[in-house]
Subunit: 476 residues, 2 copies
């Protein structure tokens, strides 16, 4: 059955940017504050973030990582120790210059990322190979003085986790870099129901100060791609300037090998733009703050009794359930929980329950089904799995449809101007060619996949000998 | 049986401040960073904080509160809207004046607390009595530009939670203020095993901008008191300048009634100073990152097998268990986990297990017991409860011993200079008398209890008619 169009949101096929803004507002996800460029993350979005945190944090801890907390300030001299890093970040940091009424002797930036602080700490606490590896992570907020603001995608402050590890050998550190990439991949696919491309960033697009950067790239409904998480291998690029040394097994002084990896509240933006539709959010059951809403229609004693019994039964199965017995109209209630993307709605009304029945509606397809009350538990259990799988498959199908193979720039232009997506094309390795590609609606290299296809022998831009197959796309 | 004194820490009876510093360092709780006045909260201390968060967050959510996230910056104009508030906080905030290379049009302070931001938000999202109450909380870091640093007790940045609620009526808001005080009290007593005094702060000691402040005060081992959490009633003191209005049930515009309440990583300092001893931390089982350590002695196949079986069994009971099968000496291992305050140690050695036995040592008393391997589960289960109760009772006993009733300043002087603690004494209500009391080693009013005793008719300082019985003490 078709869902009736919600009037409060612009259709996503008409104006995707406005649709996104409408959903942020109508589902109460984020609120523009008096602080320019910063947003309030409202309770419903924060509950999604908490669910993300719970799953990821467990995955991190199961792989031996521990959490800690670093200061939010970085003295200018510390930020400057690694030259590429400071070049990359200094133009976009916020500077604290006064404490109370006193000017500071050295200005402090609010962390845009904490490599420098972790290095400073590791240089104090790592002495021997017996102290290695250190596998630490922190959940915190970071600040980057962006010019434009888009809720969850770009703002001056955002929440994230940043893992920072130090190792005895390059091999071990590189394994960690890939391990974390795979943890993110599993998280995106199995929990967020978002298919991702994984691969290596080009030199131009890698993290400031890294040997190399691995990333996860996801395709939104509008065909624009979102860099969704990154995992960096630093080698000894930070440990040398920061003097993070250890005595190795041969009693020699060595510099540690290092990684960092992170993901942020940007993932909430990804969830919205991959799964959402013209009636609002559509949330994967595994990450939804509420998985089932029980909405009563024309309350009477029996209706309330059935609703309450169903609530207890589903909660006993570990499901996250909300019951709405308010006197709002059925239509109003339905639209509200559709807007919030609650995966399943159970409608409990007086006539149905006389027949021992309720109506179950799924958010992803809008399909409704009349079911026997005593079958609700088993049906919902199965349905939550079905919805989770369906959202993933639907997004995968969309990504496949929007993944193109190109050999000429005209093809790329045509695609990016009409129905953008991921473009597979060959590249010679020259940043000049990346710059030319960017002229096409800002198309950038997304990543070089670990298994490259051979599309042609020639760079799509300059025609010289190709070195890599690259995924290209417009980005958020 | 007595525990052998750990050589790495100063005795707490010889030099309490040094003892505290030694524990912070030896148990790897906090690390001085390159950022003056800021500390790294190391993984072991952070794990304690996570346990505190988990318990408190559940208590908050069970009473209807939701988490959200506010920006970390406050524009100067917003901070200035409530006059008492800005007077209290402006001298100790960090100011951001530059974003990248550009000077900001208006400087921003890093939040020292977020009343102003919540008010700003509430003024946008509250319109009608139907929107009330809003019961929001956030976990975040805050910054106060302190001059001195003491890990967990005083630092320029610390972690905390801050609840901010708005209500339709004064009665409802006042109930919330007391509800949260009682949640903290339950948390301190039942989880941290720390007895607390609760009461109202004097005008001089209340939060800048509050109608009144309720607080929890705990007595440390050295007799110095620690303000451990606070719950403020604001009435309409913030809602008026911030224009947080709603249409009431009679269709009239009213200002909301407001509260805020918070507790911080300072609680970790409290845990250390209430329960710790000359061998390190002593942690209450309910909050300890690891509740049981299984330490093997002279490993052989059987020893490892028994250790592993015990681990599985205890974990299956939901206990947090760590196994140390390293080849470090028994003495070294024991000292390490004593330092970390792990409540119970199980020693698994070859000779004992031949007799089907292991040794169980409790951290709080140092008592050791030989027990049958098949009784370990039931004994540990009971022992964890015993230790939790014993720590609370021991701290309560100590607080009682150090709680005095005084009628003259000479008595107060004698006590504060020899064996400080809480002093109960009468007060006329004049801040001048509080100022005079402060001349005695910085003695301050802690709180006015909800049930005051009648000690005398006269203020202990000036002899005029007494208004209140006050608890006084030296503070951290």
């Amino acid at each position: 059955m078709a869902i009736v169009k919600n009037e409060k949101i612009t259709s996503r096929d008409v104006d995707f940017a406005q649709w996104y803004t409408d959903i942020i507002k109508q589902a109460h996800l984020a609120h523009y504050s008096s602080v320019k460029g910063c947003l309030v993350i409202e309770p419903y979005a924060y509950a999604i973030w908490e669910n993300m945190q719970t799953v990821l944090d467990k995955m991190f801890k199961e792989t031996g990582h521990e959490n800690l907390y670093m200061p939010m300030f970085i003295p200018e001299s510390l930020l400057k120790k690694e030259s590429e890093h400071v070049e990359g970040f200094a133009p976009e940091v916020a500077w604290v210059t006064y404490g109370g009424k006193n000017q500071l002797e050295e200005k402090l930036c609010v962390r845009p990322t904490s490599e420098t602080l972790f290095c400073d700490y590791y240089s104090d606490v790592v002495g021997s190979y017996r102290d290695l590896p250190k596998l630490y992570n922190q959940w915190c907020s970071v600040v980057r003085w962006e010019k434009s603001t888009r809720p969850f995608l770009r703002s001056r402050e955002f929440l994230w986790q940043e893992g920072h590890t130090v190792h005895e050998t390059a091999k071990e550190a590189e394994e960690e870099t890939f391990r974390m990439l795979n943890i993110y991949k599993k998280f995106f696919e199995e929990y967020l129901a978002i298919p991702v491309l994984v691969g290596k960033k080009t030199e131009k697009e890698k993290f400031a100060g890294a040997e190399y950067t691995l990333s996860l790239e996801a395709l939104m409904y509008d065909g624009v791609s979102l860099q969704s998480a990154t995992s960096h291998y630093f080698g000894q690029k930070f440990s040398k300037p920061f003097d993070v040394k250890f005595v190795d097994r041969e009693n020699k002084l060595q510099y540690v090998y290092q990684t960092s990896w992170g993901c942020s509240t940007r993932m909430i933006g990804g969830l919205i733009m991959v799964h959402g539709d013209d009636n609002g959010l559509v949330l994967p059951p595994k990450i939804a703050p509420k998985q089932v809403v029980i909405a009563t229609i024309r309350n009477n004693e029996n209706v309330l009794k059935v609703a309450s019994e169903l609530e207890s039964k589903l909660k006993a199965l570990g499901m996250r359930v909300i019951v709405d017995t308010s006197d709002k109209s059925a239509g109003f209630k339905f639209a509200e929980y559709e807007m919030k993307g609650v995966p399943i709605r159970i409608e409990v009304g007086p006539r149905d329950i006389e027949n021992g029945q309720v109506i179950i509606a799924r958010r992803d397809t809008g399909a409704k089904e009349i079911v026997k009350i005593d079958e609700v538990e088993s049906i919902i259990t199965k349905l939550l799995d079905d919805i989770q799988a369906n959202l993933y498959n639907r997004a995968l199908e969309h990504t496949k449809e929007r993944t193109y193979t190109c050999t000429t720039l005209d093809e790329v232009k045509e695609i990016m101007q009409t129905k953008p997506g991921f473009v597979k094309a060959m590249w010679c390795g020259d940043p000049e060619c990346e710059a030319k590609m960017k002229e096409i609606r800002g198309t950038k290299s997304r990543c070089i996949p670990f298994e490259e296809e051979h599309i042609s022998d020639h760079c799509i831009v300059c025609g010289r000998k190709a070195k890599h197959m690259v995924y290209w796309g417009i980005q958020y």
